[in-house]
């Protein structure tokens, strides 16, 4: 299973390096989201800076939807699932590989967004360890749920609208916990983030486990 996961993740990341779609499209999209939030809520930094954490994570959530859609779009369009099923790969491995590749891309995105939030909203980046931990745990949870719902939606004609509808409500706890953890870190009180980080870790572990079990059956459905 793990070998297949590494193989699939490597393949997805190599495709990304070649095509640079996430970098060229999802990145600017995330940046645009930050800018639009700034327009909507700003320009007073007194308003924006405290809201940085929440706006950051909303941008991440929306970017996850795009990243997941891209992850499945590379699988030869309409024949996506056929190709994956014929490949002879272990479905749990495919899940971990795809989710892993999405997670890596998101982390890179988050690095950029962090800088963006500091620049645009005037957030003071303190508590770096907590910021990073929240990103790591939160991203894993997002990638897992996204990849799971992504395979459900990939075979359907209404996939573009169905995926956000299914995905976003379920990851609401990630948004909440990650925002709170970031709030604590940015406010200079990283100790208060502990419980929220626990929530993120539990969520990630839970949905990675669900994904390993459920991905195979979901892939099979014609």
């Amino acid at each position: 299973m793990l070998r297949d996961a590494v193989l699939v993740a490597g393949k997805d990341l190599r495709i990304e390096i070649r095509s640079r779609v996430t970098l060229n499209q999802v990145g600017p999209f995330a940046l645009a989201v930050l800018l639009l939030f700034g327009l909507a809520l700003g320009p007073d930094r007194q308003v924006l800076a405290p809201a940085s954490a929440g706006l950051f994570w909303i941008a991440v959530l929306l970017s996850t939807v795009l990243a997941v859609q891209r992850s499945y779009a590379v699988e030869s369009a309409d024949a996506a699932r056929d190709g994956l099923r014929l490949s002879g790969l272990d479905p749990a491995g495919i899940f971990l590989g795809k989710a892993g590749a999405v997670a890596v891309q998101l982390i890179v995105l988050e690095a950029g967004l962090t800088i963006g939030v500091a620049l645009l909203y005037g957030a003071r980046l303190s508590g770096a360890l907590v910021l990073a931990a929240a990103c790591a745990a939160g991203t894993l949870g997002l990638a897992a749920v996204g990849t799971l719902y992504g395979v459900v939606a990939s075979g359907l004609r209404t996939r573009e609208t169905l995926l956000p509808l299914l995905f976003l409500p379920v990851v609401a706890p990630v948004l909440l916990a990650a925002t709170k953890a970031w709030d604590a870190a940015l406010a200079g009180t990283p100790g208060r983030a502990d419980g929220w980080l626990d929530v993120l870790v539990v969520f990630a572990v839970l949905y990675i486990a669900i994904g390993i079990v459920a991905f195979g059956p979901l892939l099979e459905d014609e």
Partner: protein
């Protein structure tokens, strides 16, 4: 894997079902009458307390339906029987559940307006209910995608469980979030329920549960009828397909 053989259910609701419906209707009517006219206004909340007879029962049904849908989805998948009645149960429960969830949100909002001056407060229970509403809608959207019965059933069941597991996490997170801010919750300022109020409340819970069961029974029957129609259609389709070979 064997396909369930569908036998056509009775076209008209049985006597027991109609009795149930009548009872439920009477119960709800009684609750409303008692709630509006007979029970006294509360010392603190005044006439607003009358919503108490309706809102918690509706919330209860919303979450009961959610629980039933989740359990049915699990049972559909787990012993690998893929029995169709579990899928029908899950779908029916979700449809009834979403209606009650909507009603809960509306009644909660109505209660909140005079109490806290806002149409919406981020109370843990209300927020979780709102999220439940959206999760229901997503699940129902997924069920509406056409396809083979068992394919759709399995896909919906897995999606239901993914969402089912999420709700406790949501509630816990929001609850903790709120406790950090010491904001008003619906459960704060609990009023002392006694006498006729207690009975009316109990009646409310019971009658709304009966309504749920009655709606479920009908929706379930409807689902069964639909499937029977589909199964018949398959025989026709098979015959037509084979005829292609002859007539080209």
């Amino acid at each position: 894997m064997s396909r369930a053989q569908f036998s056509p259910p009775a076209d008209r609701a049985g006597f027991a079902l109609r009795l149930l419906g009548a009872t439920a209707l009477v119960g709800v009517a009684a609750t409303v009458w008692l709630g509006l006219f007979v029970t006294p206004p509360d010392r603190f909340m005044g006439n607003l307390v009358r919503l108490l007879y309706v809102h918690p029962p509706m919330a209860w049904v919303a979450f009961l339906a959610y629980g039933v849908a989740g359990l049915a989805s699990l049972l559909y998948l787990w012993p690998r029987t893929t029995a169709p009645h579990f899928d029908r149960l899950a779908g029916a429960s979700a449809e009834v559940g979403v209606v009650f969830t909507g009603l809960t949100l509306v009644s909660g909002s109505i209660w909140g307006r005079p109490t806290w001056g806002a149409w919406w407060v981020w109370d843990p229970l209300l927020t979780t209910t709102a999220l439940l509403f959206v999760l229901y809608l997503g699940y129902l959207a997924l069920r509406r995608v056409p396809g083979d019965f068992h394919v759709r059933a399995r896909r919906s069941a897995i999606a239901a469980l993914i969402a089912f597991v999420d709700v406790p996490i949501v509630y816990f997170s929001v609850d903790w979030w709120r406790s950090l801010h010491q904001a008003p919750t619906i459960t704060a300022g609990r009023t002392y329920v006694h006498g006729s109020m207690a009975w009316t409340l109990l009646l409310g819970f019971v009658s709304f549960t009966l309504v749920y069961i009655w709606l479920m029974a009908h929706r379930y029957r409807l689902a069964k009828l639909n499937e029977f129609e589909d199964a018949e259609g398959l025989e026709v389709a098979l015959a037509e397909r084979r005829a292609e070979a002859v007539t080209g």
